[in-house]
Amino acid sequence: MSAPFDKNDDSVVVIIGTGAGGGTLANELAQKGISVVALEAGGRHLPQDYLNDEWPSFSQLAWTDMRTTSGSWRVATDFPNLPAWIVKAVGGSTVHWAGASLRFQEHEMRVKTEYGDIEGANLLDWPITLADLEPYYDKAEDKLGVTRTHGIEGLPGNNNFKVMKAGADKLGYKDCHTGRMAINSKPRNGRASCQQLGFCFQGCKMGAKWSSAYTEIPYGEATGNLEVREHAHVLQIEHDDNGMISGVMYADQEGNRHVQKCRIACVAGNSIESPRLLLNSASTMFPDGLANSSGQVGKNYMRHMTGSVYAAFENPVHMYRGTTMAGIITDESKNDPSRGFVGGYEMETLSIGPAFMAAFLNPGAWGREFSSAMESYSRMAGMWLVGEDMPQEKNGITLSEEKDQFDMPVANVHFDDHPNDIAMRNHAYQQGMAVYDAVGATQTYPTPPYPSTHNLGTNRMSEKPEDGVVNKFGQSHDIANLFVSDGSQFTTGASENPTLTIVTLAIRQADYIAEQMNSKAL
């Protein structure tokens, strides 16, 4: 059969969500000749549609359906209905992402062993090692065209990077460069090279940055084995009397309900929507939701320890010119408990425009201190701090009292920082400010975390079924033909930006699914 597929065709693999995980898996399976229906809640936006304008772009791309928040994190006060910054569109958050593509470090796959027991943290070793992932990391880096891997040249440093680099040198940091970026420094694989537009977060109008929206998805569609249904918002996953997944129920743009039958279902809606969907699919046979015999669905939500440091200088920087995140200091990403916390963090260049700066620099602040910071905009440099946060069982996604436009309970996102997260953030603020002070900053602004861009861990991978939701291939421990294919599989978060690893796991999962289908195990 070739696309489009009949809704009663129960031989297809259904993938829910077309972002980093879902988009990659869809293409990988389609390339192997497997019939795939990918259901995507959002519409399709391509480079010609992207807007070099922050709020209109946000309106175009972001997930703005209702969500609620709780917990002591500041986001719950400042942005109570915007816990996370996630895209609702074909390509998912890879339309917004900045392209930073780093491998995990070896010890980050086994942190329970490495860090020992930490009070309040629900640590667990991954059921796989870095060595298991390495061949797949190779494939993922090649697919994404990651600079500084496979002989691909690094990007040139922009003004914001040059300030970071000068500060890093003064402080004696050894490893500071323009990053491993899924952004073409030279034209490659049909994608143009970066023109230094400075709107990486708004969707790359050059197509220089990898996004599954204009790579994986059309490549998969070209095989004839992949059908992408846009504005198909999955509400429930259905099972048969044997407890195997039989199909998924979704609403189309008009709100009409449909069921797509399937042989296998793969959930890839990002770490907030994926557990919500499993919980909303509770049935008499699975009263606590699907794949939830461990009780871990929705738990252990991680968002990375984050924060930003902006600094004002006497003279112009124009940090917004050029690639948003092509600059990194990795010296602090090691595990060195003598700093007062376990795990490590990366420092990465970051720039946002004045429209976002006003909303995120210090939400709620006003008066001359704030407006004078805004007036230093053209003299500002900025960096993002991103480090490993502790999985905590109490942090997570539960079903809220509130309902969405389809009358389904929305996700409530609960988060409290762990003391280790706070100690790491304070250290990172100090070091970030020191980098800029070393090159003559006149003011520094330790900026609180934004709504979460890295959402991880809510359907975690575990060796034992009682510790997590999925096995080492992302297959649910409870239901053999139900997979999780996005960042919610992460057992722990590591200090690196997650997407390269999400893509790596999806490539590996595609091999496993194909093998299981071939052997008729599924």
């Binding site: 304008d53 709020w55 040059k162 230094q196 050059m206 006497e314 905009y377």
Partner: protein, 193 residues
Amino acid sequence: MPTESILHAIPLERPGTNRELMKLTRRQLLSRTVAVTGSLVLGSSFIAASNAAWAVEVKALKPESMATLIQMARDIYPHDNFSDALYAAAVKGHDDKAAEDAEFKTLIEDGIAALDKAAQDAGHANYLATGWESDRTAILRSLESSDLFQTVRGGLVVGLYNQPEVWAKLGYEGSSFDKGGYLYRGFDDISWL
């Protein structure tokens, strides 16, 4: 009221046609003048800059209230190189909303009455007549949790800072794709390091 969420507090479109400022000639302005307060001229249904550089039609609120909102906006995010027109454009939406929503109109007018009352308690004629910024911000601090303050501050985040003219004042160059990006326009031109 907690700080409102970005998504609910903020009209994501920027000041557009319906919020655009009127153009008046100086003669029209003088012939319609009712009162003058500071740099603003109040008419019966509009307020304007005293040099007629811009004017704003007021549909539902009292012109004095609109003038107070503009001053409040400046006191919340003071930029001495921004003209009142930028602040007027940023708060104009509250008048539009008040024209359609009686409850909202009451929120604004009652809030401004409370603001003037606080100014009187501090020995001033009203908020607009309070001479020093530090005295006005002290009054605002005392009313920081009020609906009026939260509404005005929340709306300004986008209403003020999402205006391309404001970006230019802050030294931001806006959209770049249409200009070929910064590859040949200074992405790495920093010279002082």
